[in-house]
Symmetry: C2
Subunit: 215 residues, 2 copies
Amino acid sequence: MRSTRQADDLSTAARIRDAAIVRFGRDGFGAGLRAVAADAGVTAGLVVHHFGSKDGLRAACDAHVLGVIRSEKLKVTTRSLNAITQLADVEQYAPYALYSLRSMQAGGELGRQFVDRMAEDALEYLEVGVQAGTIKPSRDPVARARYLTYHYTGYLLLWMSLYGGPVEIEQFRTELRRLADEVTLPALELFTDGLLTDRTMLDDYVEYVNAPPKP
Amino acid sequence: MRSTRQADDLSTAARIRDAAIVRFGRDGFGAGLRAVAADAGVTAGLVVHHFGSKDGLRAACDAHVLGVIRSEKLKVTTRSLNAITQLADVEQYAPYALYSLRSMQAGGELGRQFVDRMAEDALEYLEVGVQAGTIKPSRDPVARARYLTYHYTGYLLLWMSLYGGPVEIEQFRTELRRLADEVTLPALELFTDGLLTDRTMLDDYVEYVNAPPKP
DNA sequence: CGACTCATTGAACAGGTGTTTAATGTATTG
DNA sequence: CAATACATTAAACACCTGTTCAATGAGTCG
């Protein structure tokens, strides 16, 4: 039947890829090919037959996740300032969020692209806030967007590294909410009032970088 | 000669442990026992003879690093608010800093303890600032200290995950300085002026959490 | 139908891992 | 000096990894 191929479920290759995204997201990229194959109900040999190698499989996963992120709705992921509650919001995309985190943890190209993309979206979002008058302007908006993005992403990565070995998706979301609760007050305080009582450090610094010493 | 044992260098076990700290810090805990053994100029068998197992070796490394941190000067590590320049300052302790980062990345007990300790020190330091009038008080000082610590540590961890595969100690320090430069302006801006132009979000949140018990 | 292509499997392979074991040398002790 | 305990090594072991290979099966096309 041709219906077996396309209608029954997904194509076998796609099923393997999806299983790999979930498995890698849960256990990290140290997970074995045989585990991925078992999740997809196939054999390890078939995995490399379809994807060439484990790296090929990972590349396919990267491409797919990046495609999903780019395609449409996951722009929501970076629309909020709080990168933690962000991810908790989109329930159906939790596996992709987990996979992306693992990607950052393992340090692949997808990880870098993902973070850069989040920084771009954050910049956009911050600009809107500045225009609307709700967010203060910055002397270097790009640097600020990167700074905030790296911080929130790093917070999440650190938490996953410290407390999440193999991460179940359900546990992932509930823990995210707990983290968000823990973070909200200090974050709002910092965002509203800052931390320092006087501005000499900042003023001194901008004066320092604007005064070209000796070229 | 008994002098061979203690004076010539360190004891063999200590030499292995130190080599392991450096190697694990550079390559992560995936590094093989044979690599560690070769660094120490011994055999893999001897490593497990002394430490029982690879986990035993790692436990010994953890204990030693934690001991060094506790013992004395590494309190400096957490004295500055900026956790990045922190580590760049203490040159001789860079291997310990790297090892600790790997520990956080791998998620062992040492990683958790290290972060918790940094949070405690940050709390102490922030309190001093509050007393001195240079830092604004917080409604929840403990949460704020944890928040700031996790953020800066996470920033560092994210950077290492994304860009640092095997990390050379020299490269580690120079990169830390570059990161510090990149971060200084946005951080100072945020710490001085905050991010939001009005305080309704904060006030609403505080009112919300205080609503039930507070008359 | 026959030939051909592709998906799929199970077994085998080569390489790496942590660990074990037996042997050897080298101190320290009785 | 002899005996004993320890440090150390090289080789082997069992296991797990990604990958390869030959065989089997099912679907497609001429």
